[in-house]
Symmetry: D3
Subunit: 318 residues, 6 copies
């Protein structure tokens, strides 16, 4: 499409000035790439795909709970066949996504030459470990389902919990994402988290550590930060935040990444709707945090914190 | 796949140790099933399907509002044909889902032998009643659309309301779900509610009773509990909770199910964003509840409750 | 299907009483149409379609960020081809939707005879302007991506931001919607906003004006009103409301539409989670608004507002 | 993408030499367009679409035979609703395709200025006539189904015929195509014929006139030419050709189009597999033409033509 | 839609006269139904579905040849899982189709009251037998693949044969269809045959009996009749017909169904393209039938029949 | 699933005896694999996919004829963008399929160790050559379209030819397949041919060499063999065979592969329907071969062969 060719062209209806706009968009991309020191990536994108991750998580959910989240016409006679076949496909697809993230990470690290074989083997080993962890994850999730059934007077059956509760959907995603996050795949893990966030309004960073028998009711607006630690048998309600109080910066004003900045919630704690708990504080075992409470200090074991109690105790709010 | 056969197998690349993991997942399922006293369900799942319910609700929405939520190329000449055809398919599909829930419920009730014919007739009668209720539901929904248009200064037309407002989507789902909940289908009803919850962030339990001309603006984070009762011409904003204050337990510490534990909101009440109203209290007719108010006591007709008024009146927060 | 014919019909299984219910639904539609003064629209719906708008936005996102939001196998060699082809299809489809809204608006304006040709030309001119604005929007969005990366200690790369952060998804939608809103297409614009709202829980009215380098973290429950003005380098967190304090009514009690009723947030402001800022007030440059703060008065440049500071300063809340 | 820009580009991996090949393909298109005197068509393709035609025929088949070719879950109670709704959508879609063909034909005719409104009205009138013809077509097709059932000893029921016989599929397509061909839509008609040809191997030109109770058994390889005339109750088998003997040319050697060049087959004729009948000859009423017969001369009423009889009678073949 | 209601309707654009045409189509259906003595079928269609059968055959093909016709990413490690899962789903779906045919057949038999339970058990037993036959069918098909590879000089590998040869596709379909035909399911069997006929132009009636190592090359136009019997190691080419010479009628002129009327082809016969073999004759073991030969008399073992040999031997063609 | 585990299992409904049948199918596969000396392929299938090839051919058809076979809403302004983008995706996908065939071929060749890098480079070079050949193929195909338009009196426009004629579809497929066949990809090439064969009943082996301006009318049943050579401006009709007379065997009775065994058809020949031409003979320039002629000897330039002429000349047939 040289100028010369353009000049010879018959005057066609140039409805959208496409060539000009395409050119300007190219200029904008180049400016961005050079400002962020990006390579020109001649070899294509090579990043994990949200859509692919979505299908993988769906398959894994079916393999974990075949008679509830698998195909609607599955029967026990063929349960194992279904699980084996589905798992194989899902793990192979996951392997491809893992490789994409590992390669991308290698490129980011100062453009070091990629050792393709190493990456392949590391990816394979990560997925193999992940596969081995699945039975344990299933047992953990069973404890979550039971916690939801026992914790909500409106729940009529464990089936209703598994099929309908957004909190369960979020926890299935989180437990898968958390394993992958620990295995060194923050991007794939985050994609899994955000799929749950979009579907449920529950935003759990894949880095958060969560014990067994965990239950989130309603859930919309819940935020759980990257370095939060949550014990066993914890129950939380909609709009609860386990967040950071402030972000540390370095001397140049850049935010420091990786600081421990979110709460520790010990076993058997209940946190009611809208409570905001900020900073690396500890909520002692068995405590109850009331609705809308704003809390930035640790509380001991067995505390019962309400809006009133805070105002009475400390004279002013947080 | 007996051990004998396995031993004769040529050593193929055992990439994921599938047989072992499939076996462990089977063990986890068995442990769960025996711990929850589940039968082995040789006959398949037989539970309503979320995807099927989603398609049914979509068809019903089209049948209720053919020129707005039906196919984009519909014309008035064939409106009735479309409505009749769509309704027939949707009702037949709903019948199948209703039967699944009724059969599941029968199995749950102490494994009583299923009286297949009875269930079929009960399902048919439920769906027939539901069909007869649709014209009335349409009239109710018209009042909701009008309420939204009149209640939001940003609304330019009733079409914008019907096509864009998440509050309307949630109310369409709720009115369908509530009818089915009352007809004894808590699971199907809950699936409908959760479809709306996922799409809008508005979480209305299908048990809640809601009068005409109801409007939820923005809506993300709204929670309305199972036993809530809402009058006519009520307007609520995002992040409002009509929840339970506490859950009753029986002597053994098990939560009691089915208690009346959510608020009664009388006619013509407005509740602003973030207000939290808990327990079986009554908000008197015509009252206004301010943003972020935390309320656990009944207020009389015509009250105007703000954060300030609460603190001044009662000395502490609640 | 006259009565006469019906009487001659053999008695078939009348499972759903379809004819009767279809008739009653038709009566309900007629009652609604005549009560709202709607024409009988013999020519079909002619309203923009949410599904069509969704596909257009997806294509535009790909054209703006081809190597991140375009097809996963795109390579730089064919980037421009992809952008040109995708843009052409998206703009043509957008043109069709724009025409539908303009025609609908013309019909709403007192049934004035449609000047089909005028509408076509206006639509074409709107879409052409929109196309020309795309390179500028891309540059604005680049500033948003960078702001997210720099503003969140958990963000590992700009790629993670673009692929995973709901705040970025919402801002891409908003910047496209805002341009179309200003061009006189409130319905198409609102559909775009609501697509983002449904996916992210972030509800930004397309009328809101937002400066460069804007970052919303977590985002669920954020509401930004129609007449809000937000400066450059502003950062806000989940559940922040920039809303109206009250709605003006005219003498007859009808809400006045189009009043300036939402806050002005100046450059370099940070607003923490759950803060509620209501009315046409101004948050001065560089201010920080703490979590859960309830604010209905302007604050000067450089303010640091917390829940405590408010209670101390003003003696009571809002 | 001017030369200048190209020269500044960084040397990216030019995997496929796309720009060069795209340029050469453009040159090839231009050469073709100028050699065939084609305009440059700035306004887009505007030709009927095979895929759209396929969907229309599928819908019409369902509307004609709702309980056999309509949706599998249709019930008699809603048959009319289905028929009305499906017909409306199919006719509207057909209208769009008809307009495309009429406009294309107008452009072909010496580039006469298109009278858009005239074309719209003519299209509407064609489709309206087509709609009115459908009940008659259904009755004709019923006679075809019956003829197949009675003519094939392997046929077990009329349902098997309608659901399985390729001959019936071909005749449904032909009767629809023939009506549209006569209405001046050779291109749409041909697309319908070729859909059947591809699915069945039966190639009936839409111009052929075919009487009632027509049956083609097996069918693969049947060819029936544009000007063929077939009476009532005719039965033919696979690989039968009703073709042209030779093509007339004008003085310049160009083929003359539109000559009557295919056979007339009178009522109650049977033509066995592989028979080839060429030229504007007449097969007299009630005749039987044996398998593989090669026939280029008329035969009187009641003839029984076999390979042997031909060789004996005429001394040589053809 | 009574007349009364119609008269009150506002005059909307009656574009297609839908009500009238729908009414006339209804009249045509009623005329057909009463002329063929059809019940009014209030309970719906209940006939096997071509689309459902297509999916079942696709699944069975994958289960029979998992590494060639199964999913492209299958690996040996999970082959058995895939086969078991796919088979289970396919057999369940087949069971549903079988029940539909058996019920339909019961209704056809003089409207005898359906014994639902009997039909269910018969269907289950048929499908169970079919499942048990699959390993044997796989071995038969292996012999066919080998015959194709050895019989075609253009075949490069057994993989090319299995992936590309229409003859193999047709034989897979036939062997499945033939088993079901013998089990008393002529309609389901015929649907399977016609799927292959449409895809390949090869028309094998499911009743035909075919021995092992059968190979059809090219195939278009091949017709093999209902009562044909074909031995082992037979090879045939395109456009070969194994048909009936004439149909027997009863005294009233009705065709007799079920007569043995197609050829017997013994072991090791080759039949070249276009040969037509008609009637209940026998082609003796090891014979070769030349291209285009027309044969209506039995030939002994080891015959070599060509067009010339026939004319020489019998003086005329027959 | 060891025996031990099986024995402990509760007796579930063993509806299909799945484990047994899966086991028997596995045995059948093993028997086949060992009898054909197949490896156990632990690494998966790695064969080209028919579905993938189908999508590639569709894209290439669009890139070759953008305004006729490309997307229906394409406009000239964006033609080049579409072509470039489509071509890039199609070539990348083709590259993947080519690699699969090359690797498969390498494995077949005595299990030689795969040199992955070599295969990648060879595949890339093949696809690059193929891309460069596309403009030439487009010019060839233009000559075919023109030949069809000029050769069929029923053809109304070149658009009708391109959109409707099965002969054109077959030739597009053939010209693509032939290039790839020559490049050493017999399997991919054959898949392309069979896609056309299935859709049109025209079976052209990808090895056949065909000159410019080639036209096949109707086409069903045409067979053109692997080593056929066809000159320029040749026209053939339905059911024409250009086949092999006999197959050469080696001493052991194995068919010899790769012999020149199909006809040479020189320039400007016309072959009418049903003619069968067998063996490595030559049809001289400008000859006409009549319908149903059976020809196994060469004929000189300008011959006019009919059924009669053959019988007269040679005394007997064949």
């Amino acid at each position: 499409m040289s100028d010369e060719l353009n000049s010879k062209r018959p005057p066609v209806a140039n409805k959208w000035q496409l060539e000009r706009i395409v050119g300007e968009l190219r200029d904008a991309r180049r400016a961005w790439r050079s400002s962020t020191g990006r390579s020109q990536e001649p070899g294509g994108r090579e990043l994990p795909s949200r859509a692919a991750i979505g299908l993988i998580v769906e398959s894994l959910s079916g393999a974990l709970f075949p008679m509830r989240l698998g195909p609607h016409d599955l029967r026990q006679e063929s349960e194992d066949f279904y699980v084996g076949h589905t798992l194989d496909a899902a793990l192979n697809n996951l392997l491809a996504q893992v490789r994409l993230e590992l390669r991308h990470a290698a490129r980011q690290r100062a453009g070091a030459p990629e050792a393709g074989q190493d990456i392949h083997e590391r990816a394979q080993s990560i997925v193999r470990d992940f596969a081995e962890a699945l039975p344990g994850l299933r047992r953990l999730l069973d404890s979550d389902v039971l916690a939801a059934y026992q914790g909500d007077p409106a729940a009529r059956s464990v089936d209703e919990v598994l099929l309908c509760y957004p909190g369960i959907l979020a926890v299935i995603h989180h437990r898968l994402a958390h394993h992958l996050y620990n295995a060194g795949l923050p991007l794939v893990a985050r994609m899994i988290s955000e799929l749950a966030h979009s579907a449920t309004g529950i935003d759990i960073h894949p880095g958060a550590h969560i014990g067994e028998s965990f239950f989130i009711d309603h859930g919309t607006g819940v935020v759980i930060g990257e370095t939060a630690i949550i014990g066993d048998r914890v129950r939380i309600y909609q709009a609860v935040t386990l967040g950071a109080k402030r972000f540390e910066s370095d001397d140049s004003g850049q935010l420091l990444k990786g600081q421990l900045r979110h709460p520790i919630v010990e076993n058997d704690v209940v946190i009611y709707a809208g409570a905001t708990i900020l900073g690396r504080i500890t909520i002692g075992e068995g405590s109850t945090i009331g609705g809308n409470v704003w809390l930035t200090r640790s509380v001991p074991k067995g505390s019962n914190v309400t809006q009133a109690s805070i105002q009475n105790q400390v004279g002013n709010v947080g």
